[in-house]
């Protein structure tokens, strides 16, 4: 059976620019992705999401709605999570400081931990963070766009940070998601090319393949189940409705 690949982090420059968004989605589909996550604004309207879903359908890819939260502190994070969790299929948190990183790692409503800074001091994925994340099923996201865009010392430093983070994730069993983080079509790469790029930070072939396929697919599948009207509580689902169900 053909493997299904996913890119959970496409960042169209603006949702109001349908042409740029469409070009990005078309390119992702052409490069072999079957599922894409598009970052949407927190206050996105249902009609805009429907339009985007239509675009994806016409290109033959499945859309997962995603929101990137950049809270100021952990209290802000909790508030934002309460507001957005039921509205988006993927919730990613950009961990701007240690307090937010720790809170995000232990909160089961967070799917993806994202560290944007190329500076070692701006990234908080250490052993304690990895341990918390492994307990809460959050995944560590590695965007490949900065690797392509940065050069010289900055890229060298980023590679060394990513190598350490991938090692820690493996040690503590934290799932890793490889994404493009692309805001334009020329920053997108084929899945096999992403696997090759992951070699730069010592991610082995099978782990990289899984980070582009099984891990992102399982995140979306898990959340779709939770967001479905049949979900009651963890492990409890409505399996049948209607007149033939006995009244209690």
């Amino acid at each position: 059976m053909k493997r299904v690949y996913a890119d959970l982090h496409l960042k169209p420059p603006s949702i109001d620019d349908p042409e740029a968004t469409k070009a990005l989605i078309r390119e992702a589909a052409r490069l072999g992705y079957s599922l894409i996550g598009v970052t949407l604004p927190k206050d996105v309207k249902a009609e805009e999401v429907e339009k985007l879903k239509e675009t994806c359908k016409s290109e033959g890819v499945d859309l997962a709605t995603r929101v990137d939260l950049s809270p100021k502190n952990s209290r802000d994070l909790l508030e934002e999570l309460r507001r957005v969790r039921r509205r988006f299929e993927i919730v990613a948190v950009e961990c701007g400081n240690k307090q937010i990183a720790r809170q995000a790692a232990k909160d089961r409503r967070v799917d993806i931990l994202s560290f944007k800074s190329p500076e070692p001091r701006g990234r908080f994925f250490d052993a304690a963070e990895a341990e918390l994340a492994s307990g809460a099923l959050s995944a560590l996201e590695i965007d490949l766009a900065p690797l392509l865009v940065l050069s010289g010392f900055l890229r060298v430093r980023l590679l060394s940070i990513l190598r350490r983070e991938v090692f820690l994730a493996g040690k503590f069993g934290v799932p890793v998601v490889l994404s493009s983080g692309a805001s334009e079509r020329l920053l997108l790469r084929k899945p096999r090319e992403c696997i090759a790029l992951a070699r730069l930070f010592d991610m082995d072939f099978e782990a990289a393949k899984s980070a582009l396929s099984e891990t992102p697919l399982s995140i979306v599948e898990r959340n779709r189940k939770k967001l479905s009207p049949n979900y009651v509580a963890p492990g409890v689902y409505v399996v049948r409705r209607g007149g033939d169900c006995p009244d209690t």
Partner: protein, 109 residues
């Protein structure tokens, strides 16, 4: 020595926007070679036995040759190219083959 031939499709930003002409063989080779040196250094480059075999400027296709042992490093370097002669670009690997003949056959298909 066993070799691998890599067919690459070069995608460029819209020509109307950049107002530039076609790329030359030297531009394409320079972009990949520079990236390879940045990522793997001269020691890595000496092991890769990398060369540009063919380039079609009309179709923007190129064929690179490398040692089979260095295939993954060459693949990484090709994927990491983001710019050719000041123009934003992406190099996508289409096929990898052990012989040029088989590669050409697959491209024609």
């Amino acid at each position: 020595m066993r070799r691998r031939y890599i067919a690459v499709k070069i995608e460029l930003e819209d020509d109307e926007l950049s107002g530039c002409g076609k790329l030359s063989k030297g531009d394409v080779w320079g972009a990949v070679w520079r990236r390879f040196l940045q990522l793997y250094g001269e020691y890595g480059a000496s092991q890769a036995d990398l060369s540009l075999v063919e380039y079609n400027p009309d179709e923007n296709y190129a064929v690179f040759r490398c040692s089979h042992k260095a295939l993954e490093t060459v693949r990484t370097a090709i994927s990491a190219v983001t710019e050719v002669r000041g123009r934003k670009a992406a190099f996508h690997i289409i096929y990898v083959s052990g012989t040029l003949k088989a590669l050409r056959k697959r491209i024609e298909k």
